[in-house]
Each structure stands twice: as C-alpha cells, then as structure tokens.
C-alpha cells in the first residue's frame, strides 16, 4: 500500500517534471525556428477557424440558458433588472474562459494529440530529427504560440455571443427591456473582470495545448498500448487530463485574483 502510493507519487512528480521540460524546450525552440510565422498562422487557423462553429453554438446556448434560469431566479426577488449583471459576470469571470477552453480541448486539442500520435507512429517525427529539424520547434512551438492568441480571442467571442444569448432569452422571450439588460451588463463588468477573463483564457490555452501536444508527441512511450490503440489511448488521456487541468487551474487562478 505504502510502496504503491510512493510509486504513484514518484510517477506523478516525474510526469510533471517531464511535461514542464517539454513545454520549456518548446518555447526555447522559438529561438532557432525558421519560417515560424507561417506555421503559427496555420496553427491559428486550425485552432481558431475550425472551432468557430462549436464556440458560436455553445456560447449562444449557454447565454440562452443563463438568461432563462437567471430571469426566473431573480424574478422571485423582484430583481429581473439585474439579469444583465448575472449573465455577464458569470460569462466573463467563469463560464466563458472555462467552457470555451473545454470546447477547444474537445475540438482542437484532441485533433492535435491524434495528429502528433500518428506522426510519431509513422516515423514523421523521427524523419524531422534525421533532417536536422527540431521536431518540437516545427510541430509544437507554433501550436503553443497560436493557442496564446486564439484562446483569448475565442473566449471573447464566446462571451459576446453568450451575452447576446442572455439578451435574447431575457428580452425577446421573457419581456425584459433590452436597455435594462445592457445597462446592467455595462455597470457590472469592470476592466479587472475582463483582465481575469483573458488571463484565464491564455493560461488554459497554454496548458491544454501543451498537454495535448505532450501526449501526442510521446504516444510511443505508452506501455499499455501501441499503434492505433496507442494513439487512441494518448488522445483520450490528453482530453481527460486537459479538462481536469482547466477546472483545477480555474480554481487556482480565481483564488489568486479574487
């Protein structure tokens, strides 16, 4: 029992250290990378444009549900006029960054882990090494840089669409004056809330894309499965761990910033 706990703890510490070194080396590779901008733009397209529909749909429905639930709860206390504040603060401070990050993990992160896993399996990563190309710099660095830009942008979009969704259910469906809703939004959200939102989004982007890249890039180290099953196991692990990481990091950042 004790030895088992010790073994798992050591494995966890080793894994965290390995992940930290992987991320640091990926950033270090910025220095020696050639034609990096083109690959960053390509990675931004993959993470951004392809995730756009899911961000828009989930953002809209999150706002609609928040508006609906918030209106009925607030109406019990005669405070329907605060619906804009409730929707905006929920979205800007918590739900926007967290849900957008989870959507991006499900869409872009999983694709990334699978793609790198297949590239490892088919020796494309080894081929880069034999060509003298830094495989981290070529495959991982552009994705990390793109995530630092794309996650905040997607989160901003998610929040904006969510606010419209809240307005739609509050004003159009339940009869609240649009002016009352939007003025409550304006009064409630301060610059520190927006700052917190972007800090969270950039942190989630960096952590989750780094973790998905880490699992895909190192899929050959998987001892329990190899080949297609190894890629599948790495992708699943990447998505599950990234989702947990988003919620853990959210708690840590919130406790520091609030």
């Amino acid at each position: 029992m004790v030895s088992s706990i010790g073994r798992h703890t050591l494995a966890l510490v080793h894994g965290l250290g390995d992940f930290a070194v992987f991320t640091a080396r990926s950033f270090q590779a910025v220095l020696g990378s050639r034609r990096l901008l083109r690959r960053v733009v390509r990675a931004a397209f993959e993470q951004g444009v392809r995730c756009l529909p899911v961000i828009l749909i989930v953002g809209m429905f999150t706002g609609l549900v928040l508006g609906l639930q918030g209106y009925y709860v607030l109406s019990r206390f005669g405070s329907e006029s605060l619906l804009g504040a409730l929707v905006s603060l929920s979205l800007v401070r918590e739900l926007g960054p967290v849900l957008a990050a989870l959507m991006l993990v499900g869409q872009a992160g999983s694709a990334l882990a699978a793609e790198l896993g297949i590239q490892r399996n088919s020796e494309q990563i080894a081929a880069l090494d034999t060509m003298g190309v830094n495989s981290l710099g070529y495959l991982v660095t552009p994705r990390l840089l793109a995530a630092l830009m794309i996650y905040p942008m997607q989160t901003a979009l998610f929040v904006t669409i969510g606010l419209w969704g809240g307005s739609l259910s509050g004003s159009l469906l339940l009869g609240l004056q649009p002016g009352v809703y939007w003025s409550a939004v304006e009064r409630a959200v301060g610059s520190e809330d927006v700052r917190e939102c972007f800090i969270k989004a950039a942190t989630f982007g960096l952590l989750t894309i780094a973790l998905c890249c880490y699992h895909g890039f190192n899929s050959h180290r998987n001892r329990s499965a190899s080949g297609a099953r190894g890629v599948s196991a790495s992708t699943t692990r990447a998505v599950v761990q990234s989702s947990i990481l988003v919620l853990t990091a959210d708690y840590v950042i919130t406790s520091f910033l609030v």
Binding site: R34, R35, Q119, S122, E123, Q124, A126, A127, D129, T130, M131, G132, V133, Y138
Partner: protein, 268 residues
Amino acid sequence: MPADPQTPLLQVQGVYKRFGDNVVLSGVDLEVPRGSVVTVLGRSGTGKSVFLKCLAGIVHPDQGTIRFDGRALDVDEPRARAEFHRRCGFLFQSNALFDSLTALENVALPLEQTTDLSESDIRKRSLEALRQIELEQHADQYPGQLSGGMQKRLALARAIVTQPELVLFDEPTAGLDPLRRNAVFTMIAKYQRQFGFTAVIVTHDVTEALVASDRVALLDKGVMHFQGTPAEFTSSTDPVVTSFRDSAAALGATLASLRSGADIQSED
C-alpha cells in the same frame, strides 16, 4: 578540417545497445568507405534497423563509438548534431512522408528548415530534385495520391535534396514484390552514381543486395558476423553466412516438399 580522403566516411566500433533485458546490438563494428554502397544483411529482428538508427543519431548506443568523416559523432551537442544531419540523409522503411504536405512541400521541408536559402531558391532546388527522380509533374499532389513506388522516390528526393554525403536506407524494399524490389535497388544504384553519395542499406534481400552493393555485411544475433565484397560473401563457407545466403534455396526445397505432401521439419 576535412578528414583524409582515404579514411572511411563512417567507422563504427563496438556499438552496444540494449532495451531492458533485450540486448539488440552486442559490439557491432563496420567500416563504410567513401562513395561506396554497403549493405547490411540480416534476418528480421536481428537489430538491423536499430543499428541504422544508431548511425543516424536518432537512437543512442549504450557503448561504442561512431566516427563520421574521422570525427566521433556527438548527437548530444546541438551544433555537431545539426552538422551531421546536414551531411546525412535517411530513407525510412515507411517513407515517413508528411501526408498534409504536397510532394513539393515535402522535398522543400529540409531546405526550408535547415538553410537560409530564399523562397525562390528553395522552390528551384526542390523542383530540380523532383525532376531528377521524374516526379516533377506530381509536385502539387499529396503523398496519398501517389503510388508506392512514387512515394519511395519522393522520400529519396527529400533525403538527397540537401546533397548529403551519406544516405541511410532502412529496408527500402520491405513488402514489395520482386519486380518492385529490383526497381528500388536500380533506383538506389542509379541515383548513387548520379549524386555520388555514400550509401548504407539495411535489407534482407540477398540477391538484389549482392548486385547493387560494393560491400556486404551480415548482422546476426547483435554481432556483425561478416564483412566483405559480394564475391567474398558468395564464396564464404561460414555456416551463418551459408545458412542466410541459402535461405531462398531452402524455401524452394520446403515448398517442393509441401507440394509433394511430405512433412515439413521446422528449423526451430
């Protein structure tokens, strides 16, 4: 400083590699003269591919030295590693082409990432490499749209576009029928003469290797059992060499006895 031209381009001494309890290479020696084609033969699972990956610097030997152009290969030192990889190409068994890049982009990749050439020069050199291997018309196609033979040639174009002095071939004919095997060895011999690189080929195709190579080595149970010319290999009376060399004839005899309905005795 360039080494003496008489010095072998590649010298391998006492290379030892194990994975867990499995000893794959147990003190392997090999010399590869400049401008020659050296074939390393061996049964499946004897460590040929691991040996080649040690030569390419992507697997680290536990012991032993690999000298390239007279200097010990130090793949832990970034500058030495970059210099070595600039002078060495590798053709993978699976071709390892990037399926999301076109044929032209695949060939241009090493030039884009390891040289300071302009975009137009990279394009010119990549198209020239494609033209030399007769794939110019397929420059905008993806690897998945090309036949197996074309993919092999494309992988070769990528391996030689930086004009390396040494090209390593990992089982270039694995899984191919005899006609395609001949075509691949002919292609290697043709381009080796055209570009003048030194080649190390790992394979288990004896007949084709003997025709296409200047020197032959036999790797068996992690040890280099034989090194010499194809003629020396053909006339060797070493039991391991004869057993490997005559394996094709043994297969013929086994199949003949199978057809006649006799029991087949397993070698094991």
